[in-house]
């Protein structure tokens, strides 16, 4: 059979379907238009063009000397500090998340308590880490410890949720076997629960570490230590070659850590 022209599929006309679509797409378009209507566009600043050119020149010729400054003001120190904040913050939350995860797991504490635990974990997760960082900065002062505290508390939210999911899907036979032998709750925890879920727990913690690396870079923008602090300073003072080298090093560091951590995770689970 010869068939030229466009392919067409006949569809019966359905009034409800059509109405449903009109409401859906119309609503979507209305929301988008509403959004655009509220964004004040002040026109691009007169200086924008010059700034973009200076910025691009900075990326073409970044401040390489800053990369080899081995003092406390140099870039290597800032990178190390960022990694240290991410490691210490992730580790703190990894430990703290275990009790929260147990509290949120239905097969450990029963359906009623686990609902409370799940709510606590969700509440922690919805509290932005940047705001936590600002709160801790006003307590312990600016610097890396505020960043560690912020990441350590905020990450409990995600890790607690993921941990409790893997605890809920574990094989209960081992736990019951130990209980029938008269093991205490602590023995059950350390001999049955933790050994079974630990590969997954470590994998999730590493995943969170990857996220926390990006977060640690951001936290410096508000004064919580790490690579963000020299970056925001370079941007505010418009030293573009320096801002460029910091962004480049940030991208490289995050990419390398993602690759290494991803490889370890693949071997774990």
């Amino acid at each position: 059979m010869e068939h030229t022209g466009p392919i067409s599929v006949e569809k019966p006309f359905d009034i409800y379907r059509t109405l449903y679509r009109i409401v859906n797409y119309g609503g979507l378009i209305a929301i988008i238009l509403w959004g655009f209507a509220g964004i004040e566009y002040k026109g691009i600043m007169q200086t924008a063009r010059g700034t973009v050119e200076a910025l691009l020149r900075g990326f073409v010729r970044p401040d390489v000397a800053y990369l080899t400054t081995m003092t406390i003001d140099g870039l290597p120190y800032a990178v190390l500090e960022t990694i240290a904040i991410a490691v210490a913050g992730t580790f703190t939350s990894g430990i703290l998340a275990i009790p929260f995860a147990l509290l949120a797991s239905q097969n450990i504490v029963g359906p009623h308590v686990s609902k409370v635990g799940k709510f606590i974990v969700t509440a922690i997760r919805s509290f932005p880490e940047l705001i936590l960082a600002l709160i801790f900065i006003s307590i312990v002062g600016p610097g890396a410890p505020a960043g560690v505290l912020a990441l350590g508390i905020h990450s409990i939210g995600m890790l607690g949720k993921l941990f409790s999911e893997s605890i809920e899907s574990m094989d209960m036979g081992v736990k019951e076997a130990l209980e029938s032998c008269g093991a205490s709750p602590f023995e059950v925890l350390f001999r049955a629960v933790i050994p079974q879920v630990s590969p997954e727990l470590i994998s999730y913690t590493l995943y969170r570490f990857e996220i926390n690396m990006r977060a640690a870079a951001t936290l410096g923008l508000v004064g919580a230590g790490g690579i963000g602090a020299p970056l925001i300073f370079a941007i505010r003072t418009r030293v573009w070659p320096r801002a460029a080298i910091i962004v480049i090093v940030l991208v490289v560091t995050v990419t390398v850590i993602d690759a290494v951590s991803g490889r370890i995770r693949k071997r774990l689970v």
């Binding site: 068939h3 466009p6 392919i7 988008i32 509403w34 959004g35 655009f36 209507a37 509220g38 964004i39 004040e40 566009y41 002040k42 691009i44 600043m45 924008a48 700034t51 973009v52 910025l55 190390l80 500090e81 990694i83 240290a84 904040i85 490691v87 210490a88 580790f91 703190t92 919805s126 932005p128 940047l130 705001i131 600002l134 709160i135 801790f136 006003s138 307590i139 312990v140 610097g143 890396a144 410890p145 560690v148 505290l149 350590g152 990006r214 870079a217 951001t218 923008l221 508000v222 230590g225 963000g228 970056l231 925001i232 505010r236 418009r238 962004v247 940030l250 991208v251 995050v254 990419t255």
Partner: protein, 260 residues
């Protein structure tokens, strides 16, 4: 009663790994000036500050929070829309199973990876320096961030489609546009919309803090009150933002569940 002893394998590699990880963690903690005592006292003192924020929030301030909150949502809507709009064609080009031109897809993937590693806050601070403070810089930062996120998820979905439909159309002599229209788009559209909604959820959270570097939205009001140490007002801002984010998450994930 006899105790059950499980003999353990003592293997060198495992012990070395544990030692290495422990050294990394302890080293990091010391480097970041972090201590257990400091953490505990930090958490306790943080609790007191939280009390000042949440036990007696200045509710009379709430009406003045509404406008910036609405602006935050608008920024996320526009940022997500622009990001998703650009992400779709780029994802089609970056997928390796359809266009089959490594000269296009490889460099595209490389650029996408770079976009995804730059945090939205860093993008926002750069745009504020270039375009000045305000929602416009925030929207640009969100759009680029969403673009990186959605295009990666979408090209992975395109690579995972049922390729039989594509082959069926090709065997009928359909051109690439028709293949895209009738075999690829129908298969990935629900996932793409779901990713877009997910991007929107992430963006609302991001937009809420972007203002801290001057990129518009609720974060700007937050920053002003925090620098004046008006913790009672900060409490109101946090509570209202929290409920808006929660409500948007709830609606958006309900839609997402119906989509996929």
């Amino acid at each position: 009663m006899e105790q059950i002893v499980v003999p353990k394998k003592h293997n060198l590699r495992r012990n070395l790994t544990i030692l290495l990880v422990a050294a990394l963690i302890i080293g990091s903690a010391r480097f970041a000036g972090f201590s257990i005592v400091g953490t505990l006292s930090g958490i306790l003192r943080g609790g007191r500050l939280l009390g000042r924020m949440f036990l007696s929030p200045a509710w009379s301030y709430a009406p003045r929070v509404v406008d910036p909150l609405v602006e935050t949502i608008r920024m996320s809507v526009v940022g997500t829309f622009i990001g998703a709009l650009v992400a779709f064609p780029v994802a089609v080009l970056a997928a390796e199973n359809f266009i089959r031109k490594p000269l296009i897809s490889r460099p595209l993937r490389f650029i996408l990876n770079i976009f995804r590693t730059i945090p939205a806050m860093v993008l926002a601070s750069l745009f504020v320096a270039v375009f000045g403070t305000g929602a416009f810089s925030g929207v640009l930062a969100l759009a680029i961030f969403t673009f990186g996120l959605i295009s990666k998820l979408t090209f992975e979905s395109i690579e995972a489609i049922d390729y039989g439909q594509v082959e069926a159309l090709m065997s009928l002599g359909a051109n690439q546009i028709n293949v895209l229209r009738y075999a690829i788009v129908p298969q990935i559209l629900p996932q793409f919309l779901s990713y877009t909604l997910y991007g929107f959820e992430v963006n609302v959270r991001a937009a809420a803090v972007l203002g801290y570097v001057g990129a518009g939205g609720i974060g700007q009001v937050f920053e002003q009150n925090l620098s004046f140490r008006r913790f009672d007002r900060v409490g109101v801002i946090i509570i209202l933002t929290f409920f808006v984010v929660l409500a948007i998450d709830f609606v958006s994930s309900a839609i997402r569940r119906r989509l996929v």
